[in-house]
Symmetry: C2
Subunit: 449 residues, 2 copies
């Protein structure tokens, strides 16, 4: 039952296209969900994909277009006339339509918009273009059901019926005043049990969750998750109801944000996918590697400063990769917990307390790990003092690494900078350098060099 | 308007509890959403939190209990009698109720279940306990609206009305046959426009997405995201409709999975939060650090084998942290892209092609980075041959690191093991060792030692 894109199916589609068997193609595609059509189109070449989109009904292809990979969508839209694009937009909800218009070349936008027959729809799309993509306004759709508090139940039911036709999923009925300000929401049950001449202002529920147009998408996601909402109204600076955000858009926000944080932690700086070109992947990865290279060069220079120790205590140098690795690991662990805690609003209390806790934790881990290392080095090299020096240095390195890993994301967050950039290579590299510096310095002190 | 948990509010609540001002507490809490009450209770001590839960209506506290931190919930439930727990369960949807029962001590379960007055509700909860937490069955609720294909529209509307009372959000009306097998779904609009004596089998839509009870939560999440579903029916092995999963539960699945992958990549092995105790955090972090320690010790032993090179080519040793860091960074980047690609079903084509692509990418990055390093080392130390040896080794190390980072997660995935465990410390540590080994081996070869 579930759709599966097989090589056979893909071949069948390609053959039907090359032989222009339109009727058969239509019959075949009729069975598929728009998300499946998008999956097929992603695998076709530009001409084939365009052929499919032109062949099928806008009602189906419009949604498929929103689900396409961005580069495929761009290529297909390039092959469509402004009128054809307008036909697709006509079928879409305003938020999806605005997203597509936002991707069009600037010189094309005006023409496409003017071809949209439903002028209210066109107006709504243009309104949405004004909002920054990274705000609640950039996420919301104009489709919603709203009633005026001064209407009677009779009028309300009549108006709702017209509005609901435009809205795929109603979720909630919002109540506004004459100035379009959001006043509350309406329970369908209440509406059906009161007299038809009652005014809405007597029956509506004044308690309603909402967000401001300028709210960040992540904040909207948090609110909708916390209160288990499937839709939330959006108001402008003076409280007027301007749109509505539904949970499916929020699911995308949550997933995108998680992917971004994950990529930052792994040292990948842009939104890339496994199937991108080598060049795109290099651009996303090389900057962090160069950072690592500079860090490594700095570590080499630092170690160069301790070269005179080589002859007597070669063993110290054998453990530099271990020291660097431990400093990096502890730093990444600490910063990841802080970044995740900040994202979930789990970080309470002062920065001072947080740092003390993290350093106690690092101390505990450091003592256990150092005891193991002491045993290993002592047995291996038979020199207790050197083993002791290495182990004590390791404790210091781990405590400092924990401090840095905790402090940097907290500091960035206080400054309004996304703390997630402090995970991954950034922390690893700085901890490598500090770790090696502390290691040689303490070892030198203990061994009395 | 949005709720904010301030220190003043917390103090006010604590004072009201200590002075037993029940009426005032009730009035204060009446304004709050259950998720806010949970947020308050999480910050109170055990007695205070229990006091609040006992004081307020089960209708509100039941949902608050599901939102509590796990340890707080456990403590509160410990202080409630079986009857009191049953009262809370009575108010909850079956999926949430089953989750709570699953957390209760075994000896208590029978007693609590027997105290539930609504026997159908109790039966549904017990049914749900049978399913593995990590399946669609473990996620689903029993609350849904279903009608028999042999009913007339009149009977259908009557039955739907009764069923809908139990269901918070209806989403869809499912159609079953006499054997409870899922046949399709019903459009409310169709239902209202046909004659009341029509049979459901003549009007229902036979196309409906569903999942099997044994499906993994991540698969359910993928299907619901792909098809923009807000609810999906769950069927058993022989196609009988047994439950329904709603989007709010899927949002939790997506978030939990993202957090887990992120923590694995950061070297944190259990689901911990910033506010957990030092002991819990140590248990989650120490295993990976010990792995890193072993890796570091192995690197030390390897380097020890090249000790005779020390006198002549000390400079080689200065660059071991750089080599280890680059091998680790490249490995983590490669594995993170593969893990994310696998999670999103983006990885198409053979493993062989994937490995060739990754190695070409690593080669490109390696050449750029090595050129930079060559320049640096040559200028710093003035010895072209050594600089050359280090740089060529770096290219080899980066290519191998890319290969390992790509191969291991693909291999684990083929074997049915979660590839995410191969990110973070695991890749870093193995790449450190391989990197250092390759580095000294190639340098030795080039310098003719």
């Amino acid at each position: 039952m579930p759709f599966k894109l097989t090589d056979e199916l893909l071949e069948q589609v390609q053959t039907l296209i090359s032989e222009s068997k339109d009727a058969e193609l239509r019959t075949l595609m009729k069975e598929f969900h728009y998300a499946d059509i998008a999956e097929i189109a992603n695998e076709l070449d530009e001409e084939e994909a365009t052929y499919i989109i032109k062949l099928l009904d806008s009602e189906k292809t419009s949604d498929a277009i929103t689900e396409l990979d961005e580069d495929v969508r761009e290529a297909i839209l390039n092959n469509l006339s402004p009128k054809e694009i307008a036909d697709e937009l006509e079928e879409l909800d305003t938020d999806d339509a605005a997203d597509i218009v936002g991707e069009l070349p600037k010189e094309l936008v005006k023409e496409v918009i003017s071809e949209i027959e439903d002028r209210d729809h066109a107006k709504d799309i243009v309104d949405l273009l004004r909002y920054d993509e990274d705000t609640a306004g950039g996420l919301m759709a104009k489709e919603l059901v709203k009633v005026n508090e001064n209407w009677t139940v009779t009028r309300c039911v009549k108006e709702m019926r017209t509005q609901a036709e435009e809205v795929t999923r109603v979720h909630s009925i919002y109540v506004i005043d004459d100035e379009e300000k959001l006043k509350g929401r309406l329970s369908l049950k209440d509406l059906l049990t009161v007299s038809t001449e009652t005014h809405i202002r007597e029956v509506y529920i004044p308690k309603v969750d909402y967000v401001n147009v300028n709210e960040k998408p992540e904040e909207v996601a948090k609110i909708m998750q916390k209160y288990d909402l499937e839709a939330i109204p959006v108001v402008d600076e003076i409280g007027r109801l301007v749109g509505r955000i539904t949970i499916d858009d929020i699911v995308d926000v949550i997933r995108d944000e998680a992917e971004r944080d994950y990529q930052l932690a792994a040292g990948i700086s842009q939104d890339v996918e496994a199937d991108d070109t080598i060049w795109e992947l290099t651009r996303a990865r090389l900057p962090w590697l160069i950072l690592g290279l500079f860090g490594g060069a700095a570590a080499a220079v630092i170690m160069g400063g301790f070269e005179e120790m080589f002859k007597k205590y070669t063993v110290l140098f054998l453990f530099t990769p271990l020291i660097a690795a431990m400093a990096g690991n502890v730093g990444v662990q600490s910063s990841a917990i802080i970044v995740q805690g900040l994202a979930n609003d789990d970080i309470k209390g002062s920065i001072g307390n947080r740092l003390i806790k993290e350093m106690l934790l690092a101390l505990l881990n450091g003592i256990i790990l150092s005891a193991l290392l002491l045993l290993f080095t002592w047995i291996w090299k038979g020199d207790f003092m050197t083993a002791m020096a290495i182990s004590i240095s390791l404790i210091a390195v781990i405590v400092v690494a924990g401090f840095i890993g905790t402090f940097i994301p907290l500091f960035l967050d206080k400054r309004g900078i996304d703390p997630a950039i402090a995970t991954g290579p950034f922390i690893t590299t700085s901890n490598d350098i500090f770790g090696i510096l502390i290691y040689f310095w303490i070892a030198k002190l203990i061994l009395g060099l």
